[in-house]
Amino acid sequence: MLKLEKLTRKFGENIAVGNATIEIPDGQMVGIIGRSGAGKSTLLRLLNRLIDPSEGQILFGDTDIAQLSGKELRAWRSDCAMIFQQFNLVGRLDVITNVLTGRLHTIPTWRSMAQVFTPRERAFAIQALDRLGMAHTALQKAETLSGGQQQRVAIARALAQEPKILLADEPIASLDPMNAKIVMDALRDINKQDGITVICNLHTLDTARQYCDRIIGMQDGRIVFDGTPDLLTTAMAREIYGAEAHEAFNEAATSTSIPAAQPVRELA
């Protein structure tokens, strides 16, 4: 169980995330929606402490994640894998080493510094890659892959961490519909099969509706909606997205449904 208590992050005067209070049971697949600048990214980064909170608590079991530092913080990050919009792979390293970095937390310093990995670790990484259909690229440099392939490698890296929670910050915003579908299917598969909690920032509404058990809507740093997809009314969605409503409802942009449906009419 992941529990946020009045979690707040300010950048100067600007409140990026204000008073966020949510409970996320283990094994849920949660989509966070909202327009650009609504605080979705900040919320996700607060969860694995790439950004430090200004106030409030993040409770996982009995531990307050907001208070962790040093070794314990790194242990938390390793339990709470993250995938990014721009993949954040190390372009000049080969794919397998990129995935193996997911194991860094578990191996002694001298081995990580010398880049020495055991055959077991390599096998584990290859299995993770294979699950995403990327094992054949293992010895290629990551930067030679296409965007969709890189994101799948990034997911394999996350899997190599054996995480309890998987955070995905706009995982499909840089991808074409075909790759977006592959990536979202992979995330759902990980959620259903491994029982890993997945928290995913999504820009497009239809993707969130299609894949998530639960949708959280954010607007100007506040949580304005929290519920199952069928509770999210058109009016509510329009309010969450504001001026970006048209773009968010437009499936063709970055959506995952390949034969484009007509979501706006559906909603209306």
């Binding site: 694995n48 790439l50 790194r74 242990a75 938390w76 990050r77 390793s78 339990d79 894998a81 993250m82 990014f84 721009q86 993949f87 954040n88 792979l89 190390v90 372009g91 000049r92 390293l93 080493t97 970095t101 997911g102 860094l104 937390h105 310093t109 990580s112 510094m113 880049q115 990034a154 890296r157 961490q161």
Partner: protein, 313 residues
């Protein structure tokens, strides 16, 4: 749209609002140019003053130059070997003496020179390796975007500045006093200077590294060292290599001079022949030094460019 006339830059624009915008823009531009002009004039004046002062202090006057030019040739006259065509390839006599006028006579100490030049190159290699190692280690904490703490940043920056600020030859003198005459003093002096010079370059390369891979390694729970090793090093390694090779070229030149203060290498011999004999032996050594430096430069440039080409940047 009547405003379209504005696109042509016509001054007689229609409508008050667009006219105001143009006016405001023109005024702003004029102000900007005026303030820039003042700066330009000030800079030019500053430059002129500096140039004048430096001419005065160094007494860089045409007549002095003109009177000095013949003396260059006088000096060259004294170090030009007295070679004779018919004796040029004459070997040694039965008693083992070389015949004056022959190449053998001119380059009597040829194998000593070769040994010393070999020592010089070894000095440059060792110094470059040592300097690159320390520059590499410290460069991460000396990068504003990577430093683990303000303190580490401040200290490593100052270490680089200090080791780069002191001239090699001065460092070499100190080391000669400390540990005695010989190549070790020279190696240490050059290595320290290399640390400073490369460290600055390395840390600037680090500062240009993309933060995305680093964030990726942070997110898997990597330590600071792991972030550097996996997130930064793969990005910067080709650039580091190229800079280290360039430094090696510079260090070959540096180590052929540093012997003047007794810090080993061919410089020591050059200093000896200049101060004791100042005859054709000076030219004999000089030719070898220039040849060595050129050959090393050519080889290292080849490697460097080959590497850059392969890595595509």
């Amino acid at each position: 749209m009547s405003d379209i006339i504005m696109m042509g830059g016509s001054a007689g624009a229609t409508g008050d609002a667009p006219h105001d915008a143009v006016h405001a823009f023109e005024r702003h531009r004029a102000e900007l140019r005026a303030s820039k002009r003042v700066w330009n004039i000030l800079l030019l004046a500053g430059f002129a003053i500096c140039l004048g002062l430096s001419i005065y202090i160094s007494q860089f006057y045409p007549d002095r130059l003109a009177s000095g030019v013949p003396r260059i040739f006088e000096y060259f006259g004294t170090i030009i070997p007295d070679l004779q065509w018919d004796l040029l390839f004459e070997g040694r006599t039965e008693e083992g003496r070389a015949v004056p006028g022959s190449l053998t006579y001119w380059y009597t100490d040829f194998w000593d020179y070769v040994g010393l030049i070999f020592e010089t190159i070894l000095m440059a290699i060792t110094a470059t390796l040592l300097g690159t190692f320390f520059a590499f280690i410290l460069s991460f904490s000396a990068s504003a975007n990577l430093a683990p703490s303000r303190w580490a940043y401040w200290i490593s920056r100052r270490v680089f500045e200090l080791s780069r600020g002191i001239p090699e030859i001065l460092l070499a003198l100190v080391f000669v006093f400390m540990i005695g005459i010989g190549p070790l003093a020279g190696v240490l002096a050059i290595a320290i200077h290399t640390t400073g010079a490369l460290g600055k370059l390395f840390s600037e390369v680090n500062e240009n590294a993309s933060s995305r891979p680093i964030e990726g390694i942070t997110a898997v729970g990597g330590t600071w060292a792991e972030k550097m090793a996996y997130g930064v090093v793969p990005q910067v390694a080709p650039n580091f290599f190229s800079y280290a090779m360039l430094r090696f070229e510079i260090n070959v030149r540096a180590s052929s001079i540093i012997g003047f203060v007794g810090a080993g290498g061919i410089g020591q011999e050059l200093n000896r022949v200049i101060s004791f004999y100042s005859d054709d032996r000076v030219l004999a050594v000089l030719i070898l030094v220039v040849l060595t430096v050129t050959v090393i430069d050519l080889i290292s440039e080849r490697i460097r460019h080959g590497f850059i080409g392969k890595e595509n940047f």
